[in-house]
Subunit: 266 residues, 3 copies
């Protein structure tokens, strides 16, 4: 039989025992689970960063993968614990929006509020639901326990959205939603949107970022410019990225997540 | 047949080839081993940090899990190499105390000094017993090789203890044994001890930490105080933690591991 | 049936979604693959560091392991994508030399240039061949798809070498090729070379590093010197290392990768 896959995405870091404890709980209940570490290095409590990460990754996984996210600044409060069943996956985590970009990108079929203590570790702590609630429930779900056993259906869950671009006749007002290890600036301008405003034939972009006016070529690969030159490119997540060939655009432009970027329409 | 689980806990970091070499050795001998990374980011040579990590995690694993720890400042010296069989697990690593908190927390049944070179890689290095001794022995153990094959029984092994609290009529003198990524200060005051000295109904704590006198509420979840307020809480390891709701108590109180903390009894 | 092993070595870091996406692609095509993380923390675009890491590790893996490396500053350029079949393994990655130290250390049998789009994800990005080309091809290879299906044989691939030592009558001019987390300085002087120039009985070494003249003992384990003393030792990769017992030689000697080191012959 196929081993069920459970992916883990947390803000626990690599030096604390929290992720290791969750893996033990999962394997104690579902010994044949295939546990895949997505990352434990999301900035602590950064729900937006986690939501974007999850959105970028989960669609590449096989059907029925359980994606478990523990970025949970509200642990122990009244915030709910969710299982979101989508067309292809199960997303589990706290009801703070961290699951929503990925889940709504697949088709949401059912949302369950986890509240059945039969599936929790005992005693249950008020500081670590990742270990005491989410890990055991994920493992029981991987064991094919029916979704309905874990709690009632709930339609009132928190959804966050990508920051929306604003478009007028002369410009797109966008922002940087992620900066990766290579210093690529990932914006919230999708390829689809850009093609609507700029057509398919655009060879360069005029933009303003951090009060710097730039005219940069729009490329389909980094090496279409010389080493160290700035370019625009639709990256692996299909968003417009501002990059520097084999160097860091973030360093060159002194840019940070949430910085505004204006792209001229002409 | 169930895949045997081998967990790895080391101070090798993420950029050196040492952990990757150990995984290869294990899989060459026991191809169906399920290798679980606990952490490779223990501070280099920090036996206490490793011992606390192991103590916090291993009890969540299924019976017969092999927990392999390589934090080994004395590699190549006369320090022994151990397998400690407990009620539920096998703990393997250098005889420097790193295994002792976790092993004695389960019931120790037998301690073996590894000395049978039939199970070692050849040639054996004097700088990397993780790869040349511990990894192959763990893999053979996972293959159900009898424990006695690896070496003789040995009762004379090194045990470390949590730093002990001192209690007099007016205060508990304790210390910070770990600070996690969220800045929670984990003390060596167990819930059991605290309930003996303070009873079950305590709603707040008077304490002195870094020459700062604090009166903080004793909560069962972070959100019982406002954002940014300091609180006391028995955390996921059942020790008293000094925390700050959605922020770092370590930053706020300028605290470090081994700092003293005085808790008033009143 | 044995689960096929695919190891991953990248410069993606731990906070971006790239490695997680590759794992999903692999598991979607080859659900029983055993994915082993070697490291995702190679310095970005550092082909030499990746090549040395791969060389140090891969020989410990079982026969038929697929070693997939994505350190790929030239992604989207004309650089080729390779599968190198050696006596025991398959090495996959960009044709920039990163595979060459490890591959030539095993016996190279066949080199394939990957160019069959039937095995690629669609649409294929120009910025992330790790996800769109290498991951799916590795998974199909793990499914026993014949090597020839992925593209034509190609003998013209890029090989890098360890920086070569220069030897004259009085000294070996060498360099530091890696510094590990413990501050050990790993040189390019192999045990074999040293034994040719210095014989088997040498008890100490005269060397110059960063304008500092040192006479240090040549040991077979760290603890043959006192705590904090500098020593020479042939480490786990069989190269001469300059180490400090339970401390960092790199800090003590203010050394960096590529620093020159002169070893006197006398």
């Amino acid at each position: 039989m196929q081993e069920p896959i459970i992916t883990l995405l947390t803000d626990f870091g690599e030096r604390d025992p929290y992720a290791g404890a969750m893996k033990g709980v999962i394997l104690s209940i579902c010994p044949n689970a295939k546990i895949i570490d997505l990352s434990h290095n999301i900035q602590r409590h950064n729900i937006n960063e986690g939501a974007f990460f999850l959105f970028s990754v989960t669609k590449y996984y096989p059907k029925n993968t359980i994606h478990l996210v523990v970025i949970d600044p509200g642990v122990g409060s009244e915030r709910k614990s969710l299982i979101i069943q989508t067309e292809n996956y199960f997303f589990m985590g706290p009801d703070n929006g961290v699951l929503s970009l990925a889940a709504t990108n697949d088709a949401v079929k059912k949302v369950i509020e986890i509240n059945n203590p039969d599936y929790f570790l005992t005693p249950i702590s008020d500081t670590f639901h990742g270990r005491d609630i989410f890990a055991p429930v994920a493992a029981h779900l991987a064991n094919n326990e029916p979704l309905e056993k874990f709690g009632p259906s709930n339609q009132n869950w928190i959804q966050i959205k990508f920051p929306e671009v604003q478009i007028n006749e002369t410009e797109i007002r966008a922002e940087i939603i992620h900066i990766d290890r290579f210093g690529n600036l990932i914006t919230n301008i999708s390829r689809t949107l850009f093609q609507k405003t700029h057509g398919l034939q655009k060879k360069s972009i005029d933009l303003i970022i951090n009060a710097q006016k730039l005219n940069i070529p729009l490329c389909s690969s980094y090496n279409q410019v010389k080493l160290g030159e700035i370019l625009g490119i639709f990256g692996s997540t299909e968003f417009l990225e501002i990059s520097k060939n084999q160097a860091s655009a973030a360093d060159a432009l002194n840019s940070h997540v949430h910085d505004r970027i204006l792209v001229k329409i002409s």
